[in-house]
Symmetry: C2
Subunit: 345 residues, 2 copies
């Protein structure tokens, strides 16, 4: 039927692509000291952001990112019709508490570290479907709150495996707007389409090797994106995963290659990039905040500058909980792909 | 603008209201023995549903509810374009693991016990926006997994306060379909519109008195629904909250009355209803599964039979995590309203 925007098995191609009206990134000190430090808009030097607990601190990072993104979009908080928000913590603590002050209708979403892809996808559908003119998509993570949630309290000072990742302290926020055909929208970065992932489980049980857990899910959604849109890998200036790390990267490229596509030439991973080799982070960065701050910092910079015209942004999540892990379950993965496009559509 | 479906401050009135193609409820023994037992489709006698852990059991409840709902809708699993799913557990364990076998694109959502309202709202927007022909909205809860997550292990045998609620063991699933103007759709229950809630915090800190935490959020979203749609309370045959319990009910009716509306005549609460007074459940039932099984069991029965023509379904959530609670935070609430309509639209 004409009205449908569905494409292939798992994708949407927007008829009236929504655009990114404004965005912002707020990061911690370690992230600001990394190789992409200059691209992040705001550095919060205090890891507790003036709050009493790590969880409240993470919420504060969200609040600051949200306020900045809304300001950068040139609008007021009350212009935001919906917030689509998530984080890694149990019961989305950072989003629930951090965004309360904004007093906007809220949809909480969870896809582990793939959540920025999920929130962008849902926000885009809300905007393009005519349900809102402006939607805020936001996620965060925090090293200290994530360690407490998933691994060991910081004070325990556990040793870290080579395959372990370092949870990014930061929040990225995007104001997604419904395109109205105005002239000034033409120069904005648009969301051309989305490919939504399934839970994919290859049976990996190592919570210190999340790249291996997530790589199969990332491979599935990337290959499905190529099939659904009929795009070759070269049609993307970059194909960017969230936080596969060094171990996950090789697995991803191998699986995608087995499926008949070579992405080795234009692939990058936010987790590998965000920290320098001298920052003692083992396999790279991770967390909802990792892809969110790289998107709202570096990736949007490259797109806005016109250096990249089309990017496949694929945040990747490991569906891990301390309970499921302690009960001996495997760690399934999920990934959500979003096509970002600079050229006029 | 014509294309928008926005109404008032927080609502959507669908131009082409999606309809409920099929639904199903799966409950545990205690729920089956309650006054609404006859309306639930499937009783699972084994609280572990044949699994090793409470969390896996809850996932199994979801899997069974999903499969039944899809069968009742007369379609196949592969006809479902998206699943919008959530539960109360950290990192949505029940949804992530329980729905994996279905192998469909998944959006995880979290709004505490309001999640059935959120998943229905998101699923309806996806269907009405032309992004899918069929979307599965599903939530679950489980007494034993929730006690472990939020309160005490069962083996501790703690005493329960009079204001405490009993988490429902069950899962409800709904297949939401995009209306295509076919004749057979006319007799189905439609989703006329939605009103999306904000996080509302009145500073209540008692995790054993969640009705008081949630009642203000429920009141806000119900009053906003009346204002946005221009409806009087009498235009609903029933206004049904999720799990306010006996304590929350009185608070809700009082707050709504202060705002100028009297809902005392046509109000009911799933949590108060689901168990009998002889079932030793203190203030009533609660959990994502409570409103989900009452919707897919009793409420849909009344709508399909034509006894109710228009219902305001308002699942209510207490944004509580064991970490935020132990850190001394208050328990904010959120509620999402969905208008269910039987008459031809």
């Amino acid at each position: 039927m004409e009205k449908y925007k569905m494409l292939g098995k798992q994708s949407i191609k927007f008829k009236n692509p929504p655009y990114i009206m404004g965005c912002a990134s707020v990061v911690g000190e370690k992230e600001a000291e990394g190789p992409y430090g200059q691209y992040f808009e705001k550095l919060e030097m205090d890891p507790k952001a003036g709050e009493d607990t790590w969880e409240e601190a993470e919420g504060k990072f969200q609040e600051k990112a949200a306020e900045l993104a809304i300001k950068n979009a040139g609008c007021k908080v009350t212009d935001i019709r919906y917030i689509v928000a998530g984080d890694l913590l149990g019961q989305l603590m950072a989003s629930s508490f951090g965004l309360m002050k904004l007093d906007r209708p809220l949809f909480g979403v969870y896809g582990a570290c793939s959540t920025m892809g999920e929130s962008l996808a849902v926000a885009s559908m809300i905007a393009e479907g005519g349900f809102a003119d402006r939607v805020l998509a936001i996620t965060s993570s925090h090293f200290a709150s994530a360690e407490r949630q998933f691994r060991f309290p910081l004070a325990y000072a556990n040793q870290r495996k080579k395959s372990a990742t370092w949870t990014v302290t930061g929040s990225g926020a995007v104001v997604v707007a419904c395109a109205e055909g105005k002239k000034e929208e033409k120069s904005k970065v648009h969301i051309e389409g989305i490919t939504t992932g399934k839970v994919t489980d290859y049976g990996v049980k190592d919570s210190m090797n999340m790249g291996a857990c997530m790589a199969p899910a990332a491979a599935e959604v990337i290959v499905q994106n190529f099939i659904d849109f009929g795009y070759e890998p070269e049609m993307y200036d970059k194909i960017i995963t969230g936080d596969l790390g060094l171990v996950g990267k090789d697995i991803l490229i191998d699986i995608v290659h087995e499926r008949g596509y070579d992405i080795s030439g234009n692939y990058m991973d936010c987790g590998i990039e965000i920290y320098g080799s001298d920052q003692n982070v083992q396999s790279g960065g991770s967390g909802c905040g990792c892809s969110a701050v790289m998107l709202t910092g570096f990736i949007m910079h490259k797109l806005r500058a016109g250096e990249w015209k089309r990017v496949l942004f694929v945040p990747t999540g490991a569906l891990l909980s301390q309970v499921s892990f302690n009960e001996g379950n495997s760690v399934p993965g999920i990934a959500h792909a979003v096509i970002l496009r600079k050229e006029d559509l």
